[in-house]
């Protein structure tokens, strides 16, 4: 942590860009969505407030799965 750096030289970060495989036959993202629903329901959040919480770009796929789950129950 001794040297000084500028914003530009951050590009030398090593990006590995591998997707680690999951367990065969499991949809991990759907399971993740389900787990978050259970957790936040336990805290008495409504469907709408849970969806609002997850409407951020990085986890949009989780939110899409949540919508699917809500629409089928």
């Amino acid at each position: 942590m001794e040297e000084l750096h500028t914003e530009d030289d951050r590009s030398d970060f090593e990006l590995t860009h591998h997707i680690l495989p999951g367990d065969p036959g499991r949809d991990h993202i759907a399971e993740m969505a389900e787990a978050f629903i259970i957790e936040f329901k336990r805290m008495r959040w409504t469907n709408e407030s849970i969806l609002a919480m997850f409407r951020i770009m990085f986890i949009r796929n989780v939110e899409r799965n949540m919508s699917l789950i809500f629409s089928t129950v």
Binding site: M1, E3, G22, I38, M53, R60
Partner: protein, 390 residues
Amino acid sequence: MPKVYNWQLGREMDYPYEGKRSKRQFAAVFNINRCIACQTCTMACKSTWTYSKGQEAMWWNNVETKPYGGYPQHWDIKALELLGEQPGWDINGSSEEKPYGVYQGETLFEAAKTRATESGQQALGYLPTEKEWRSPNFYEDTAYSSIASRLGKMADGAVLPEHKAWFFYLQRICNHCSYPACLAACPRGAIYKRPEDGIVLIDQSQCRGYRKCVEQCPYKKPMFNPETRISEKCIACYPRVEGSDPLTEGEPMVTRCISACVGKIRLQGWIDDPKSPVYYLVREAKVALPLYPQFGTEPNVYYIPPRWAPRGYLRQMFGPGVVHAIDAYADPDHELLGVLQLFGATQRLVYGYSVKDDEVIGYGRKGQEVVRVPIEDPVFVRPEKHLNVT
């Protein structure tokens, strides 16, 4: 080298000092299933302890995206690589004293004895480069980043901004280990474990900045301050744990990162006190597990593993108790449901608890009630005529 008993390994192991347990051991449980990486804990810690010159890249609390990220970058991959492939646990013969069975492989201390004698390391370790410390969570949630696209490296990747890969968030502070590698590594004897609560501290007047603690702590939680040229680390907010914060008039409080958590994913307590809810979660319900117990430091921050992640990866990270932990957590009994309600319920440190039919009560240091929470929160719907809209 003296032998000490490590209950997470279910056996004795080598450690440079005689085993001497503290009177109480600081511990915490983090529920990964609830964390959305809002980083409120990170900022609560930062604004309390590491806002000075020289501490800019210092994050005693950080939340990283697993399996892709880490602070410092790839800290756990590098530690696991150093340790090498190990045979794991023999889960036959697990008992009260060895809840996960018996670890058959080498710890970082044992590996140092056989492999790193020339370097003089007490625990096998490495010193991260300066750039690996630069940013916590850097690009972790933008895995298909603009830089990768510009370099043409992500032509086949998923379209921004979606994650199609599994991931979870790992919340990290110092583990205040029972057998700290940082303490073992320090040639100055500047690191000590407090006998009253097991919190691990660096004596700033003794440290000379050799960075052996930074090198040999596998969790990479001691950090070098280039301004003062000595090392610093998470202090478990000890003034709050001691009860010297004026807010609670002498009553011990939980750490800043724990009290600030929006998602109520954290609970602090004592791992060696059977009355503590943390003891219940770790030693009785066995839903909370240590982080990389195979390193051998007996870490005291425990995690309820994420239900959705691949079991093999979780087993490597949290040991052989993963399947039981996930099964028990997915189908909680009444006591577990009650204890889960204590997470984030109060800033005061909960020493004991009792679970009733419809509520759970937390007790403080002197046995007085400090919090009472319904197990099933009632929902009140405001009548339409009283809606606060115009």
